[in-house]
């Protein structure tokens, strides 16, 4: 928040009464500035303090929910411009479109393809969030039927794109699933009335920032409150520029009249949609609609989203311990590496593709990668020797040979000295593991004698 701990402290009673649960008013102020506590925790705060601190703590970007239950998609509700300042909370929502002009069998096939856009990476499931139904037939009844079919097919929340007549019809059939309605730019007021009456979120489309601000005001005047802004850029360059400006206006300038999550339609002939999608995932796009259902394109976009929306302050870790890969035996190789989630999954994946059963020994390193952990003194000759002794791996294998990541080859002498295991220096890059493991002589893992 904009106020520093000291700014907040000056507004507090400064009695250190501890009623808020913190030992000093300054400690409480530090919690407030970090957004970890609310001013309501202090019963003795003045009205002025409550107002000022409350205003500073108010979220700069509203939260819009599309869909219901565990498939609900959240747009907006962000607090920082750069993920390194804290984190981004809600990954860019991706919608893949289906046209109501498609014959029924093709419509269902398309919906099946969209459902199949589901991938697993590093223990997380990635998939498309919404189905965007386009009214291209001009027929409200047909549009409503297509919407209902889409909802039934995959259970994903809907983005309904069409003229207000078609939207009304579709909302009649799918309204309880809380779809996001998207009328064309000329029909903002009608669309807003519909959205307001059914308490649904609304995309407001208008070209340019000034036009958009006017349209948003008009929508609010009709009683629609849950709004998503689409500045209708002509190309990727304009899209990114608009997206950045709107987010800055919301967070830095607190310009409430244009502080909304953003939506971009990258289908319908939009130039270079893949590039635009990648850029907008990186730069504040809240919802992107794509016409492509090609996994070769969707998978990278979803992975980019997965990467950029991880919390930078929490390295993901796996539990230290012994991880057998494949059908291990007592002469299977033993590899050691750190418990940084990415390291673990990468090495594991590479060992799997080597088709050589092996034991992966994961060391507790506070979720740091190999080099970082070594630099921080958490992945050392001593610590590795200790894992060899304490993890129980010695009972699982007959040999005493350890494969060490090439990056920390210098630790091999120390490990051999302390643990009395033989150390083989593995490749620098995990991706070279398959070749490396295939080249290893089996004698390397024969049972140790004596």
């Amino acid at each position: 928040m904009a106020l520093t701990a000291l700014d907040i402290y000056k507004l507090l009673p400064k009695t250190n009464c501890k009623d808020c649960g913190f030992p000093t008013c300054l400690a409480f102020a530090m919690q407030l500035t970090a957004g970890k506590e609310g001013i309501d925790k202090c019963e003795h705060a003045s009205e002025e303090a409550k107002q000022t601190i409350g205003a500073a703590a108010a979220p700069p970007l509203p939260k819009i929910v599309v869909g219901t239950g565990d498939r609900a998609v959240i747009l907006g509700d962000e607090v920082v411009l750069f993920r390194h300042e804290k984190t981004f909370y809600h990954p860019t929502a991706i919608a893949v479109s289906v046209s109501d002009a498609l014959p029924d069998e093709e419509l269902r096939e398309r919906l099946r393809n969209i459902s199949a856009l589901s991938f697993e990476r590093v223990g997380q499931a990635l998939s498309v969030d919404l189905v965007a139904v386009r009214c291209e037939s001009g027929d409200p009844g047909r549009f409503a039927a297509a919407a209902a079919t889409s909802l039934a097919a995959g259970g994903k929340p809907l983005l309904l794109i069409g003229p207000c007549t078609a939207l009304e019809s579709a909302v009649g059939k799918t309204g309880t699933s809380r779809p996001l309605v998207c009328p064309p730019p000329g029909e903002t007021e009608n669309g807003a009335r519909l959205a307001a009456s059914r308490k649904l979120p609304l995309v407001v489309r208008a070209r340019g920032m000034e036009g958009l601000a006017k349209a948003l005001a008009a929508a609010r005047a009709e009683g629609a409150t849950e709004l998503v802004a689409d500045p209708m850029p002509a190309d990727a360059a304009q899209a990114v520029a608009d997206s950045v400006f709107i987010r800055r206006l919301a967070i830095t300038h607190r310009a409430r009249e244009i502080a909304y999550p953003t939506a971009f339609d990258l289908g319908r002939g939009f130039p270079q949609p893949f590039a635009a999608a990648c850029l907008l995932v990186a730069k504040y796009g809240s919802l992107l609609t794509l016409d492509t259902a090609d996994p070769a394109e969707i998978f990278p976009i979803l992975t980019l989203r997965q990467n950029l929306f991880t919390d930078p302050q929490r390295p993901i870790q796996v539990e230290p311990g012994i991880y057998p890969i494949g059908n291990v035996t007592s002469s299977s190789p033993v590899l050691v590496t750190t418990n940084f989630s990415l390291t673990y999954f990468t090495v594991r994946s590479d060992v799997e593709s080597a088709k050589t059963p092996a034991y992966l020994l994961i060391a507790e390193c506070d979720g740091m990668s190999v080099l970082t952990a070594w630099a921080a003194g958490k992945f050392t000759g001593e610590s590795i020797a200790r894992i060899l002794a304490e993890s129980g791996i010695a009972a699982q294998v007959g040999h005493r040979t350890l494969i060490l990541p090439g990056m920390v080859a210098r630790l091999s002498g120390k490990i051999e000295e302390l643990a009395q295991w033989r150390v083989l220096v593995g490749p620098q890059e995990s991706s070279a593991l398959p070749a490396y493991l295939r080249r290893l002589p089996p004698a390397a893992f024969a049972a140790a004698h004596g």
Binding site: T4, A5, L6, D7, K10, P23, T24, L26, M30
Partner: protein, 558 residues
């Protein structure tokens, strides 16, 4: 040449006189006379802090680079460069040339402003009432004997903390306590023995018979716990919550201190975590809690505590900096005793080290201020790079040792031990880690409350160095953030000064008691910003080098 007739030097306002010794500077005379004059640079004529107003026959000390023409015309000289020639010479130590708070306790000026002398004491049946102020330090125990009739300091004494045998730093001692049977009671007995010795030394120096009736003691939370027979283990583990932050008054007999059995012991309260009574006493002595000026207080010792604030707010932390500045963790390091190299210069052409030794004899090792100088000089001479690695330069006294490459400070032939006094790359790493922790702690506190470095108006330096920390060396290698030199005020042993102040005035004691709970404790180990600041500070002087150059280059250049 015939010797000129003898003479006398009279120091004002103390009124202390000392016989004139030819060729000695005023500063040297002052040290002999027990008159304290600030000299952060160690008498090298570089810092300009030892200003005195002189009258009589003298030579030198009027360096135009440091003193202004008006100063020189009004008879102000630098005590470290001015040599009295003979006859009666009057030297008035200017107020700004005294350690700020220590001066108040010597001169008694501040006490008068604040109200009458207000000790707690009871009048003993026999003998004069005496008070003892104790600084229960991790490495050194220090004490002062006070005549409670009028508050004068009768004697001072120091002893090594006997617990050092169980570990140089507090964590090692806690580990020892937990892992050895009877560990904590043993540590307690060691501490009591040390305190008894200090008190015995003080009594031995007392001019007349007296009885100790009041004792104030300021120490780290861990030591306060051990003194009270409480296990300090909870302080070490997150959330670092002390078992007790306020310590009830006990008699010496109840605590187990034989040399002051009926005295009432008041232990300064702790702020939180490791930040204990010694910091509270230091804050008290500095007066920062009564001033509007935003102030930083550094206690440069093994624990490396830093406090930030003013009368409105205060926040403190412990950086666990490490004992490099106490001479620990550095192979050739030693305490500041006779035989310790306390300042170092590296000659630009020969690249050899020139040293000043405490006591003047053969050097046996290097103490904190010397280690600091050595690192600064190595950096200035281009013998180490910003990352703290040795740079091989032709003619430089590097030698291969069994601990790796080392810079030879003193050859075996000229050292007291008969072995090289050598400084290795890993010694340098220890120093860099220590200084990075201290610097980063200060920046972390500023960031936590939302203040910039520019908003800090004063920087107090307290702790193990005493007055002999060369600030220029410290800033050259980045021990502190780049505040201008003029903002720094050395305090010497501020914990002891605070303990003395509390002994003399119950108002001061009450201030201390309310200081502790109103100072926020900041846990660095759970502050993500600290790790980043620490990494940045591992460079010489800092990764943000431009802020050091911008603020300080004339002051830290050779």
């Amino acid at each position: 040449m015939a010797d000129p007739p003898g003479g006398r030097l009279k120091f004002l306002p103390e009124g202390v006189s000392v016989s004139l010794s030819h060729g000695e500077t005023i500063l040297a005379h002052a040290i002999r006379a027990g008159v304290t004059i600030l000299s952060p640079c160690g008498g090298e004529g570089r810092c300009g802090k030892c200003r005195v107003a002189v009258a009589g026959s003298l030579r030198g000390g009027d360096d135009p680079g440091i003193l202004s023409p008006e100063d020189r015309r009004s008879g102000i000289r630098l005590a470290c460069r001015c040599v009295p020639l003979g006859g009666e010479v009057g030297v008035t130590v200017l107020p700004e040339s005294r350690p700020a708070r220590l001066s108040a306790y010597i001169e008694g000026r501040e006490m008068a402003e604040d109200g009458p002398y207000l000790p707690f004491h009871v009048v003993p049946e026999k003998g004069d009432p005496l008070g003892v102020a104790l600084d229960v330090g991790t490495s050194t125990l220090a004490g002062a004997l006070i005549d409670l009739r009028d508050g004068t300091v009768l004697a001072r004494a120091t002893e090594d903390n006997p617990q050092m045998a169980c570990g140089e730093d507090l964590i090692s001692r806690i580990v020892h306590g937990e892992e050895t049977p009877d560990g904590f009671p043993f540590l307690r007995r060691l501490l009591l023995r040390g305190l008894d010795k200090v008190i015995a030394d003080l009594l031995a120096s007392s001019p007349g018979p007296g009885k100790i009736v009041e004792v104030t003691a300021a120490g780290n939370t861990v030591l306060s716990h051990i003194l009270y027979g409480l296990s300090p283990a909870p302080v070490r583990r997150p959330p670092h919550r002390p078992a007790l932050k306020e310590y009830p008054v006990r008699t010496g007999k109840e605590l187990g201190i034989f040399n002051a059995p009926s005295a009432r012991f008041r232990i300064f309260p702790s702020i939180g975590g490791f930040v204990g009574g010694d910091i509270v006493a230091g804050i008290l002595a500095s007066g920062m809690h009564r001033s509007e000026a935003v102030t930083l207080l550094f206690d440069v010792g093994t624990n490396g505590e830093v406090a930030l604030g003013n009368r409105e707010f205060r926040i403190a932390c412990s950086s666990s900096a490490g004992p490099a500045f106490e001479g620990g963790e550095v192979a050739c390091g030693m305490r500041a005793y006779p035989g310790a190299i306390e300042s170092v210069r590296i000659a630009p052409e020969s690249l050899a080290a020139e040293c000043t030794v405490i006591g003047g004899g053969k050097p046996a090792g290097v103490c904190g201020s010397g280690i600091l100088d050595l690192c600064a000089e190595l950096f200035r001479a281009g013998l180490i790079d910003r990352a703290g690695r040795f740079v091989p330069r032709a003619g430089a006294p590097f030698r291969e040792t069994d601990r790796g490459i080392a810079f030879v400070v003193v050859d075996a032939g000229r050292s007291a031990t008969g072995a090289d006094i050598a400084f290795t790359a890993s010694d340098l790493k220890s120093v860099i880690r220590t200084k990075a922790a201290l610097c980063a702690a200060a920046d972390a506190l500023l960031q936590a409350v939302g203040l910039s470095r520019e908003e800090v108006e004063r920087v107090y330096i307290a702790g193990g160095f005493g007055n002999f920390l060369d600030l220029r060396s410290a800033l050259t290698i980045g021990v502190f953030p780049p505040f201008p030199l003029s903002k720094f005020v050395p305090l010497g042993n501020a914990s002891l000064a605070g303990a003395i102040g509390a002994l003399r005035s119950r108002k001061r004691w009450e201030e201390a008691v309310s200081l502790a709970p109103s100072t926020a404790y900041h846990d660095l180990s759970s502050d993500p910003a600290f790790m980043d600041l620490y990494q940045r500070a591992l460079f010489l002087p800092h990764t943000d080098a431009e802020s050091y150059c911008a603020n300080l280059s004339p002051e830290i250049a050779r």
